[in-house]
Subunit: 347 residues, 4 copies
């Protein structure tokens, strides 16, 4: 299992806080995050310089570490405390966010059922959140219109409240969903889908959501400029069985919004790969967020003489994907004929 | 082989005329096309009401038909004339643009080598076009900046001219490329790629381009409001081996620009298909152009409880495709897991 | 979630009993199963006529039902008893194996943690099984050579025993793996992979295996001749963007072995589908087991004039798949170019 | 464009000679090929030691070269002669079969239309071949039963003869199809499909077949033990977005028959690739022919705890592919979830 998240997206995607965070108010989160990015025109940007890197944090005092990590798991400072205890002063094996997340997860995984249940119960009730949102000004509500939870009325709202109550009654903890910008439809579907689960299975599912939230919070508290991840590409022409050479590709960052924009333009080499190595490399370039390749496949096939129609079925191909772990290698290739394409997270 | 095109895109994509058309000036084309669309807010739009449908054209006099179709094949009115002769007054079997295009293509295919060569030679020289473009005002050049042919200078321009001349010398006809909005890179790649072809092979390739241009011109001269094509979708969840039910999908028209915008929002049914049948149906809705599905795959997997990362690798998936034949069925499905997806032109 | 299994495969794949069954001996299972199939040359075969269909079973007395279903969940007759109680004499809503499996699963899912734990603990210890297997004659061992569990010796055996013991110690129930013919490698990998799981997660995983075993046992006890499932196919040519018409396809049953052989030869129609509807339809044809399509893709592309190499990269394409639920629709298509292909469980 | 073939398959697939070769009789071809392979148990095998490698041939006298290559293009020794002339005694740039094939193709491509037409006309008429086959003994016919051309009778035979005559009448040269083991169905489909082609297009298609035959003949005359090609694999788990580690894979050679058998068993490493590099490397291992990977995907998913059904939809996955060019890199990967898989020729 892998964990990831884009802390930098919090401001833009503010509605998500409903589901992700109970200890921060919208306002304070917004204010904090607004100053977090410092980006060069070329697309490189530092994550908040005031945040420590994993390595720096691991050199701080136990008190500092606990203070920093205490809120990662909702109202459950014992997770950070146990972690620090178990490490016995030696933190050298922890060099990436993944390492740290895995250690914290291990503490939770090894806890008793009672502790885990308490952790789940420490999460806020979604229904109460919705009530509060309804009290917000119209402007704030509009900002949060994507999720649309607060727009529920009448039968829909009654249905939501009923399912939410039934969930809490059946499982003994509130419904938790770690999805940024989750729409009303998603929340209702997830609630409806998970309600019939056997208790033991739902317990595991809820814990998984909790670990995902922890990952996202962890990322938001650390500086990952020294991360080691990178992004590569490969284009294969499945109509002709060869690498797609000399195809133009543009890479664009879509989120976080304050750092959005075209990052660069590439041309594939004879092997269908990007000239000059990875498109993004290292923590300042390879930042958590949403990206898009734009492949000029129509031009490529035209220049190869492969038959395509007047308005080609496939011409300019956008391929949107998320980067969640700043230390991983993301290989995002394209397999393409004039009539089909596919992609996958490769390695 | 299939033929298609989006006449309505001509205005927006005006630079393409360089490659597609020699008998129209930019200005007149622009003026003509500007008034061609009449669209309702819901996305339906009539193609130019002044144009006849295929059925209407086929009922006109032979003279009218020849007059209308005379310019479809560059300076080669004999194609239309021969077509009319061969039909011997009976045009009932021709009810779609494809039928008509196939008939005209048949005339060309059956012509002598000399006639075909003359047809190829009747096309304008690309180099001369570029020279003329360089004389245009700066404003016009900017409009045509995508193609960028006129931006070539120095060694690049010399190289282009040399290849263009070598092509004409070797094959005995000008270089023809039927690609709208072809960039400088595409044109140069295609020229470089086709120059080494054996003569007989290049002859066939050039004829294929000519037929594609004919198809695009034909579409621009006919009203296709009575066309029979339609668009369908299907989403399969390859992580769980089931149809992806209850997934939100948005359909947007990207071009022609005067008719661009969101067309509709759909939700998949239990079988992963769109409720209510085709997303577009019939000539007024199903217009030639570029479209984009937007699949809310991240929300879907979240509601299913399938594990995804904090910033999902796949979340909102845009899928861009072209419709080229107003009488065809386009089935454009999505096969998706949280880590891979593919699409194809289905049936 | 779906459940399935091929009871008819039991004889052939006898080693699987180690993992699947504790209450049957190899010998008795073998003897019982040997007479279960009665197949016509055309490929249709009845499942054991002595077994009742779901419908017939549901009309029997509560005692009979409990007697029949008592062993489905290992040493846990209470599952069947509770099921019968809850139905209160009305079984009309249960018409397929899936219906029945879902009802039984519901009983288990709703049971207390203590009951579930007891169910898990009722399963035999894999290590003891292996010991018993080592005492079998050489001939029997050879029959079971695929699994190879009994072939473990020295360090490997010690390692297996240690992991098995650690598993039982950590989780409080024996390791359960519902895989027929699982090789030594698979068992060791699964054991190694699941050992680090958090307790709550492993509990859910083990329960999932138990439900899968229940499904397989259920299928082995029922006659499914009246099942409603069927098998369809579709071939799309992704090099040319069209349905692959006139392609030869052969369908072969690979298991259960006593019913293996070529079932039929098909040719795709203009839409790339099989002429004459489903390749298999209804419980006597559409039997649980392993199948293989053989697609003559090389011939198809040759006849289309699509370029392929001397020894085509793709020529005769075998596509092997399993049918697990006799009441489902299995759509198993092929998307193919001369250089790539893909398949998926469609709908 | 690439060219390839498996000369070693000629004996087994003797019926193909009808389409591939006019200058060899079945008997002589059979006799010659029977002694061509000398294979070690481990799967390595030398191609005919009496044949020269490309490098050795290029060091021979012009007379020898012409004598060796004179029959590559049907009854057209001028191709080899012109090649030798153009090289002017320097053959150092020709080190692989591809190099040599490309040079010969260049000679043909640059020839006049008259010469090319003569080359096409030099090919035997398929109809006459079929007549001769009908005179063969029953035993020989059975050997050739796959193609089944000689089994045509009555209306089918009349139809074939009529189309074949119409083809020759329309295009002025006999129908040529470079497909080994082409079935009756393939030949008839191809003939029917190509008959309506415009003359210039069919001329190009026929030349393409001629070049493919030349490639296959070239391979059959050369020793490729020093070739540089190799075979690699990669398995990605698209259900979990990770490389599929620790999956068992078996590689089998299916043809040429005298060298068929299991080549080796592999296990994927942490990156989903084969431990120890290429599965086949160099001319003695990496021989032209048909191969099959067998992926134990079901075991892999079971050991990962990914849910699969009782009889898994995908369990043991055979993936058959051809190697045609002994000097190329063939990358043949698998993208797999429990419910879908795909492959492609990668790089």
């Amino acid at each position: 299992m892998k964990f990831t998240a884009s802390p930098r997206a919090f401001l833009v995607l503010a509605t998500s806080f409903v589901l992700l965070s109970s200890s921060f108010s919208v306002a304070s989160l917004g204010t904090t995050m607004a100053s977090k990015q410092s980006c060069s025109p070329a697309g490189a940007c530092s994550s908040d310089a005031n945040n420590p890197s994993v390595g720096e944090l691991m050199k701080q005092s136990s008190e500092s570490i606990v203070s920093m990590l205490g809120g990662i798991y909702e109202h459950s400072v014992w997770v950070a405390e146990t972690f620090v205890q178990q490490q016995q002063g030696t933190f050298e094996d922890i060099t990436t966010v993944s390492d740290l997340a895995a250690k914290l997860k291990e503490v939770v995984d090894s806890a008793s059922q009672e502790q885990k249940l308490a952790l789940l119960q420490a999460h806020p009730d979604l229904c109460e959140k919705v009530e509060k949102m309804k009290e917000l000004t119209v402007e704030s509500q509009q900002e949060q219109s994507k999720a649309g939870l607060q727009s529920m009325e009448g039968e829909e709202l009654a249905n939501f409240k009923a399912m939410n109550a039934a969930y809490k009654e059946k499982f003994g903890f509130p419904f938790i969903l770690a999805v940024r910008n989750a729409s009303k439809n998603t929340v209702l579907s997830a609630l409806k889908g998970r309600l019939p689960n056997p208790k033991d299975q739902e317990f595991v599912t809820a814990m998984q959501q909790v670990h995902k939230i922890a990952w996202m919070r962890l990322l938001s508290k650390l500086n990952t400029d020294d991360a080691k991840g990178f992004l590569t590409c490969h284009v294969l022409d499945t109509a002709n069985g060869i690498p797609a050479a000399n195809m133009k590709i543009v890479l664009t960052r879509l989120s976080p919004e304050e750092n959005a924009g075209v990052i660069g333009e590439f041309v594939t080499n004879e092997d269908g790969r990007l000239e000059g190595g990875p498109a993004l490399k290292g923590g300042k370039e390879f930042t958590v967020g949403t990206y898009e390749w734009t492949f000029y496949a129509g031009d490529y096939f035209a220049s190869k003489g492969t038959f395509t129609s007047g308005t080609p079925f496939l011409d300019v191909i956008p391929l949107r994907f998320g980067i969640d772990n700043p230390d991983d290698h993301y290989h995002v290739p394209l397999l393409v004929s004039p009539w089909s394409f596919s992609t996958y997270r490769g390695s």
